[in-house]
Symmetry: D4
């Protein structure tokens, strides 16, 4: 039976429309053998639910929270205000965002004392990798998979060289 | 005896260092004969206090909330998430802000359903005037003072013409 | 017979091409039981008409003016110069706008004394909500509907959780 | 006796605090032998005066209007809406401007049909030169002085070469 | 027989791919009864031709030069360096431009002494109107047509009101 | 005797001129009882040293790397390319940076597979807090201190209220 | 038999997806009679390979290195850190780039001592031309072809005039 | 007797006020044993002189041209239009520049066919290094000095470590 405390990473987003971006975090974590739970929590439309989630995340056994949002993206920072767990923020270039600048700045520019570890625009996969790197510090199986993943990245580049060799100038 | 419910406007800011900017809202409101209460409420450092304030503001008799913040400025938007009162946001060019762009975008770009009425960078006085315009809709004394204030603005421009006439080219 | 003074909100825009954006303000106001009147008033092409509208809006019984424009968007600010009613500005990402930056800055950055309450890019719905929040201060029926709308927003998020549960990673 | 219709260029600005920038237009025009009149006209604080000025400028004998403003800089565009004279806009980096971006965009990005000829940030001197170039089309004395001014610019560069030769590396 | 000196406005552009934008200047000028000549002159690929054009434009009878370019848009400024005629610059959002910002800044930000009268991004029509406004100062027929054009703009807005009235909310 | 493997956090920066910013990471870590080692490692001037550091950091016992840099800030990303430890990047507004934009974008916008957890401009203290949050996942003493620190932040806000009460409007 | 040391220009890019942009460098070099070698070298996914390439480029007989990358584009700068050959950087507007701004700033803003000669966004052809200009300093055949290419550019403009003449206004 | 053709690098700038920035190019070149000639050539105020310089630079024996300018910075690109020598552009943050953005974009964003090798804002030293790298391809003495310079950069970093060791946290 799967127990809640085996799920180490919570992946939350402001709207279900963010799912196509945020699912990449879950996918890469799965590849690393890390269970995650995806949830939709809106800082602006479900503020109470957000605070309950953030203040209780620690006790539920989560180790890392990944939070994605777009526009005036308050979700990652507000979760960080109510937990001491590491919070990784994913700025999303949503339909109401100005080319992503608002998403980036409202996640990144947190004041002293309440940090959000921000990744590139739409880079939920990278958020998943940071979460895995954190978990790997006390989980050798994950650590090994991250090393393997890094090797795979390199292999992929090397394989792409074959395409290049076929190119006609 | 002064009662709480005579105070129609709450002026809140994320840090006491924002006071020199935000006090201008209180000053113009005073000029219009409107009492206000200044408070320091940090979305990130006192989130519970913020929510208690926002959810209770209506019952305390406030009609309008003016909220100022800088950097990843979540205070106005998070207050708006927990009240149905009109919230006026003042983006502040604080020391940790990138020329004010982060402050502006994280206040202005709120999602559908949870608006913040945003004014210009550091323009707390204008936030005060909007609050007064709202209150004036049901308070003729305030309405009269706003009309007078508009006339004064014009007079000030006309007076400055004398300086111009003295200018030598 | 419908009388003019039942219409509390004027919704004006610089061009009829702005209608698909601005109509959202009228729709949400209708949902709150507030009548509005849509008009096309160009600051640059019908300046006299604009001034007549702005100076007379108060007497026509309007309580709030919502004004949308794009590019060098002068309409909201110029209306604000000639009325003491609250003016809510909607920056529009029109075809001649540079990603909306010109629309935002020329509406938001009003000088001291003449404020425009600005909402997010294209966020006419939010302008409608602010107008409703203002009217709700003296209209309990509207106030109740705004509370309901806030609850609906939350419900919508909660409903979207079902989709999330079906997602395969 | 000096008559009004000898004054060919009106130089207007939104606030007397813009004078140190805008006076450069008057100075260069004087150097070209062109009389100008400096005035403070605020689009936002003296809108009626602005419209009276703009609609009457033609009949007063003005040939060109130079208008400077900062922040949400509506003055040049609004004057252009009410006159058929050429309007030259000077974006001013005033204290309430965001590095001048708001001033530039709200002057430059005028819609089709109502142009403002915009110069560089704070470049009132260049506004004066354009005005002179326009007047020179029907005034040979001015034309000659503009040619001379161009030669002087070149001479100034050539003179600066002497400084360069003295430089030790 | 058409003589060269009847052509009062030169419309030049850096590349024939700019023609769909720049032709709007010629069209509006034609509407005002002003002849213009369209030419492709590249500051970077035909520099000598550009200088010959710019230095000789005056003698050919041109009164105004309209120059459009995109990216590192040097054409308007370099023409201005070699003529004393008024030069109107049209920043073009060409395929190699970064959202038009490079085009705008490299045309607008000319140093003191060598101005370019800049219009909005892609706003060749407005460049044509400024040229017409300049020519109208000494040509009553043109002046009359500009007044008429302004009236037409207003009429167009008024006509669009009918569409608005049909809108269902 | 202090052993190397007690030092859990490496704090590296591109230039010793970055020290006044980066030392804040060491200070907050010290407050949390976490030893750190400060080093100057330039991606561009000591690339071999950087790679030796990055590839060996894991074996030296480091758990987290904090890397700060300004301008074309490659240090955090390049370290991330050669380690599987979590890397926290601090964009620095150094003298050669364009208002910090270059520093932020060249640290934040890492490609998929090689993340850098980025904090706000100059926010080395926040980088230290994230490092502590990560270490706290397996160190209860640190966890307790972080909880305390959060309480202190709140207390500080509450204390500032006294200043506010003394303010005269 | 083709020998490695006849290949004077190395064209490297961070990902094979950059090939459609970067191949333009190879094409123009071929037109100038200069052999080049295209390679995929990722600063972040194959850092060791990158350093081996950069430190050995000189001895392999390369004279110039052209490096293209997008997003947090570290490849050109990191190669420059490990070679004394001239490095030309091509900022690429890749899918993960924010309109190219990140690509430009992280290539252009290199610190003193480690330059990258940067070209326009996606302008790999121009990178090829700079490489050719460098090689032409000691290769008269190439020099001649560059002169011819410049003449061809002019011819192309002149030919486009025919299209213009056919245009109807 | 010093002959002109020993001077391999021309360093030109738009105004003598750019000298404090541009002299760094001459200084680093001197350190590499390369003679350079500093000149003030304004694209806008001395266009004919600029073209004469650019078209004749090749025959005077120059191998590389370094050109610095600010604002609408046309000098580097216009020189590149009239020479086949490599042109290195230095964007200068001059007093009339908008934080350097105009300088960067109007130098960097050259069209296909006419490249400028651009360095960081104010980075004249780096322009000098690129020039030296180019010359070093056929001058072993210079090549050796560049290698030495790279080693010195590394040494400087290593020396700064001593300062770091003294720091108290």
């Amino acid at each position: 039976m799967k127990k809640q405390n085996n799920i180490k990473v919570a992946i939350v987003m402001g709207s279900s429309s963010d799912l196509p971006v945020m699912i990449e975090a879950a996918k890469i974590l799965k590849q690393f053998g890390i269970e995650s739970k995806i949830d939709v929590i809106s800082a602006h439309r479900t503020p109470k639910r957000m605070f309950d989630f953030a203040t209780g995340a620690d006790k539920k056994g989560y180790k890392v929270i990944i939070a994605g949002a777009g526009g005036a993206a308050h979700l990652p920072g507000m979760i960080a205000s109510a937990t001491t767990l590491p919070v990784i923020g994913v700025p999303i270039k949503s339909s109401n965002s100005i080319d992503g600048w608002d998403s980036i700045l409202s996640i990144l520019q947190m004041p002293n004392g309440v940090p959000v570890a921000t990744v590139a625009l739409n880079a939920a996969q990278n958020a998943g990798i940071i979460a895995a790197q954190i978990i790997a510090l006390s989980d050798k199986a994950v650590a090994k998979k991250i090393v393997q993943h890094k090797a795979d990245l390199e292999k992929k580049v090397m394989n792409s060289l074959k395409e290049i060799d076929k190119v006609k100038i």
